[in-house]
């Protein structure tokens, strides 16, 4: 199956990605073949969470996902438009709380939280959201403003 074309729908746009080597990671396909550099490359080992995207609605580490393992998947990245209501809500909460500094971890946090909102039908408790985001690393904020953004997400549901 190496080098075969892989069909992917990314942010609603259908792609057929050709000549994908077997070991290629979804992270690299998104960044270097589709030009979607918003998905960030950090550790490439599943530790930092900067590369999280949604694969069929679920938060997924794109650095540990082989592109050939997700043919036909619906992928959502940080570049998605306002039509993704969950992403839009997380963005608004992060903007209102200033929950970012350098911004390198931000796409991963936004999609991790949006993934949980997708899974939970847009309702999620503070503790669930914090647990979901607990696997994403941030070096700048000390997580304080991110926690405030999560609290905003949890309370605006009620």
């Amino acid at each position: 199956m190496t080098d075969a074309a892989v069909p992917l729908t990314v942010n609603g746009h259908a792609h057929s990605v050709r000549d994908v080597p077997g070991p290629e990671r979804l992270l690299d396909t998104l960044r270097w073949r589709l030009g979607l550099k918003g998905t960030k490359e950090g550790c490439r080992s599943g530790a930092c969470g900067a590369c999280v995207v949604l694969v069929d609605g679920r938060a997924t580490l794109s650095c540990l996902t082989l592109t050939h393992d997700v043919p036909g998947a619906q992928i959502t990245t940080i570049e998605v438009g306002p039509e993704d209501a969950a992403v839009a809500r997380v963005r608004a909460a992060f903007a209102q709380e200033g929950a970012l500094q350098c911004g390198y971890c931000t796409p991963g946090f936004v999609l991790t939280l949006a993934g949980l909102l997708h899974e939970r039908g847009r309702r999620a408790a503070r503790e669930e959201l914090l647990e979901a985001a607990g696997g994403n690393l941030c070096r700048c904020t000390g997580y304080a403003a991110i926690v405030r953004a999560v609290e905003r997400l949890a309370t605006e549901d009620r």
Binding site: G38, A47, G98, C102, L137, A145
Partner: protein, 734 residues
Amino acid sequence: MTAAARPDAGLKLTGSAPYGTDLDVPGMLWAAFVPAPVAHGRLRGLDLGAARALPGVTVVGPDDLPGLLGPRERDAERPLLVPDEILYRNQPLALVAAPSLAAARAAVAAVRVDVEPLPVVADLESVFPDWPGSDAGAHPQVAAHVHARHGDLAGEFRRADRVLAETYRTASVHQVALEPHACVAEIRGSTWYVHTSTQSPFGVREDLASLLGVPEESLVVDGTWVGGGFGGKGGSFLEPYALLLARASGRPVRFALTYEEEFRLGRTTLPAVIRMETAVRDGSIRARRVRLLLDVGNSLPGRDFATGYSIGFLLGPYRTEAFEVEGYAVRTHKPPFGPHRAPFAPQCAFVVESHLDHVAREMNADPETFRLQHLWVEGSTTPMGQTVGPFGLRPAFERAMTTARSWRAALGPGQGVGIAGGFWSTGTGAGGEARLRLGPERLTVLEGEREIGSGSVLAGLTAVAAQATGIPPDRIDIVYGDTATAPFDSGVYGSRTVGALGRAIQEAAVRLRRTLAERLHGQGQAELVVREGTLVATLGSRSAPVAELLTEAERAEGGLVADGRHFAAPNHLDEDRVVAGQFYPYNDFAGSVHVAQVAVDRATGQVRVERYAAFQDIGTVVDLGSAQAQVEGAVAMGLGTALTEEAIWTDDGRLVNDGLLDYRIPTLGEVPPVDVTFVEGYAGAGPNGAKGLGEPPIIPVPAAVAIATRAACGAHVTELPLSAERVARALKLL
């Protein structure tokens, strides 16, 4: 408190802010190092032939450098590629560039390296198993020796009621900016151009000029969005290599590190051993003797700033009658020492505060009152003979004591509260320039610095420009330029950005307003206000829309330009107290006092931080949202230094934990909420009396956690980090 929305939030929340790792130029090649396979050895052979024969691959070895470069200032002492003797593992031996990263790695694998291994000095304490005598400055592993003293040390020690002596050890910690170093280089005609993720475009240009032997006017450095710096993206790193490959290949070259390489090659804080001796009489500190062995890795002899700067912080902000400090920067076979947010100061505060807490306990004194009694205040003389300027440390300490008392009233078993203070010299640092351009309706601030995340450029400088001109922040644009077009600045480091560039902006704003006053046919400074949606200049009863005050030429060029600059005069210390080496005077004195509440698991030694409060002497708050965010972030980073972060090197100079799964930074669930209080009114040199903020709030964190841990369970841990294992050993559980 809710922070104001950041000006860059929209870009960063939609993936629209390109970082260094995102640079993508048509036709670019991908670069990689050929890494040294040992930490110390003689390079007997480097066979690049098979790599050079690969299609599309460019290889640069040491023998290629003379043909690619001009005459270089630092040729011999800082070789770009190992000419002969390998001095740390993974040191670059050669460079490759290829059409893909996989092809570049295949080319690296094709290189044959023949090395004669030599004995490795990986550990500082193997160089000096005992404290060195004063003749050790000539030791081949010593990069720098600093020594200072003042007062009747021997007499005070002889007359003391008690002398307390302890030895402390601190660990190597990494900056862990989530974005690895990355740049793209191109040769454009006679210009060497590099686009890079950096804290200091002008600093990179200066470095490149001496490393490459290329005149500054032929070098252009442009910044990108920066995915975290913390000191690690100060000077040049990958840029000279990318430029060499671009020169050799005739193509643009992307050079980015993997995260493993980030750890292995990172220039950061290395281990240290500190000996503290304190003589006490009649309940007061009379004399202090401090000795420091600081691992500086492969830092250059005589170029070590860290030792001479840091050693002052080992005396802490405390009065003493007599003192002696002596420190050695010790070379080991590791990468060079480099700055990490308030370089080595958190480690110094950990040692000073833990030691004085210990001294007070041994004297049966209240540890906090004891420290409070000895704190510097404005007008105190530092051990090196400098007069302390406006300093909010003591009021911060008093407020922290009130907080600690209330927290202690509610403690249960296994919990404890600790207070620690510290200080940092902030200020305006090396110089900076600003250029303002007033258009008909908006003001532009032209900047060579990029926003690195702290908010100092986008939020801080916007706030200063708004205050200085009267123009509302939503009519102010920060516009970035490269080193060829932007005004000079020395870099976003040293907690200096708002201070230096803020003062330069203020000066430019005065010029701008004077020019407008002249155009209103008056004197002094015009005011700028928005009236019914129009930007208007006023002077007394006269006023006119700005659009009508601009000349034809100014309108064509985007507006009226005014420049400002700020280069601070250096301070001085008492050179008579210096015995050897170089010491550095302080600028502004910025105090930080923190209160930590911890719970210690009595079975495992695990320390958990439950509550945290920070009191920060800031002079004047410039932008409250980003100021609070700086303190919150610094505390979390300090908790890593305190509890989990430790780069571990083997005896053969290999870094054991070169990934984020093994080198543990704090996660979301491990950082408690931080109550932030700013102590204002003790003015610094920044705009309107502001002091720098990026670094100070990390300084007391390991100390506060250590003192709280001792309060909670009695464990007096004299090594960083306070891992469960070290606490368990102190509790005699292991």
